[in-house]
């Protein structure tokens, strides 16, 4: 998986530098931006890591950046920091999907804990996303017959039933089943069904 980056967005250079220093001091990779627009212009949606975002900035507000990130479908976790936050703003930001909302001044360890938590969340999300993408690619690469057998297996068919439906022998069905499981890199049809179930529920 790609190395994770902590993307720091704050129009106050002192704050930006201090967070960058903090992040790098624990061996993490950081990238800073002085505006939401600068960040959004260069951000790749598939990037791994997390975003640390100040709410009140002269240009685009942090909450608007968060909104635009959501719209782009990027799954990257967002931590909001602010010197001016209040309860309604915090509630709104969290309901909009922020993983944390931290008021300044904050203890460095608090921000680090929040960042580490966000990176863990992102890693899990990206892993599952990669698995899905790989699976889709593998399925596209199956032969026509293998896809037919797969569809029937997902529908719960037995080798005997599938053989009858497709007009081939049960042994041939078995051979196809072994091949396609091998190509899809799953151990069993049940594993595949479970995987799909989890993915569909997340949509």
């Amino acid at each position: 998986m790609d190395e994770q980056t902590v993307f720091i967005i704050d129009d106050d250079v002192a704050v930006r530098d201090s967070i960058q220093e903090l992040v790098e001091s624990v061996g993490l990779c950081a990238q800073s931006y002085d505006s939401g627009q600068a960040f959004l212009d260069s951000f790749q949606p598939e990037s791994s890591g997390c975003v640390v975002l100040d709410v009140r900035m002269a240009g685009m507000s942090g909450l608007l950046v968060q909104e635009k990130l959501n719209e782009s479908g990027a799954g990257i976790p967002v931590i909001i920091i602010t010197g001016h936050g209040d309860v309604p703003m915090a509630v709104r930001a969290l309901q909009a999907g922020a993983v944390d909302f931290i008021q300044k001044p904050y203890r460095d360890q608090l921000l680090l804990d929040s960042i580490n938590n966000a990176l863990t969340v992102d890693a899990a999300f990206k892993r599952s996303h990669t698995r899905d993408k790989n699976l889709d690619q593998h399925i596209a690469a199956l032969t026509k017959r293998e896809k037919q057998v797969l569809d029937k297996l997902l529908g719960g068919g037995t080798s005997k039933q599938i053989a009858r439906d497709l007009g081939i022998s049960p042994r041939t069905v078995e051979a196809h089943r072994q091949n396609l499981l091998h190509k899809l890199e799953v151990g069993s049809v049940r594993e595949l069904i479970l995987h799909r179930f989890v993915r569909d529920r997340g949509e």
């Binding site: 209040d86 309860v87 969290l94 944390d100 909302f101």
Partner: protein, 127 residues
């Protein structure tokens, strides 16, 4: 179907009674409990409504409170009442599952609006 009930939890009887009066003045039924655990013990599956919970900083440090709170939020939409400006508590609460946070001192109408919103969420989820 049973009418939805506003379940009010506060360690301070004055607080829960005053919220109960407010809710009942709008012709909604309300029940009060001295603690989250008391609410959970009394709750019957199938009851609909929402939870209004008066929370203090020290509650958040209590892991038992947390477990009760998570259990409660799984049953009904929960809204929390916190001290003004207590952002960390509010953040903690929303992350733990609260659907809204109301600050003290609150305007009665604000609390009622939040309660109405919570009841609507519950009705939609279980309608």
């Amino acid at each position: 179907m049973e009418r939805p009930v506003v379940f009010v939890v506060s360690a301070d009887a004055e607080v829960s009674d005053s919220i109960k009066d407010l809710v009942e003045s709008t012709d909604l039924p309300a029940e009060t409990f001295i603690s989250l655990q008391a609410f959970l013990d009394a709750f019957m599956p199938g009851h609909r409504g929402c939870l209004v919970l008066d929370v203090h900083k020290h509650d958040l440090a209590d892991t038992e409170w947390h477990a009760s709170f998570t259990a409660a939020c799984a049953l009904l939409p929960g809204l929390l009442i916190t001290d003004r400006g207590d952002v960390p508590t509010a953040v903690h609460a929303v992350k733990a599952g609260a659907i809204d946070v109301v600050q003290k001192p609150y305007r009665d109408q604000n609390l009622l609006d939040s309660i109405r919103n919570a009841l609507q969420l519950d009705a939609v989820a279980h309608g």
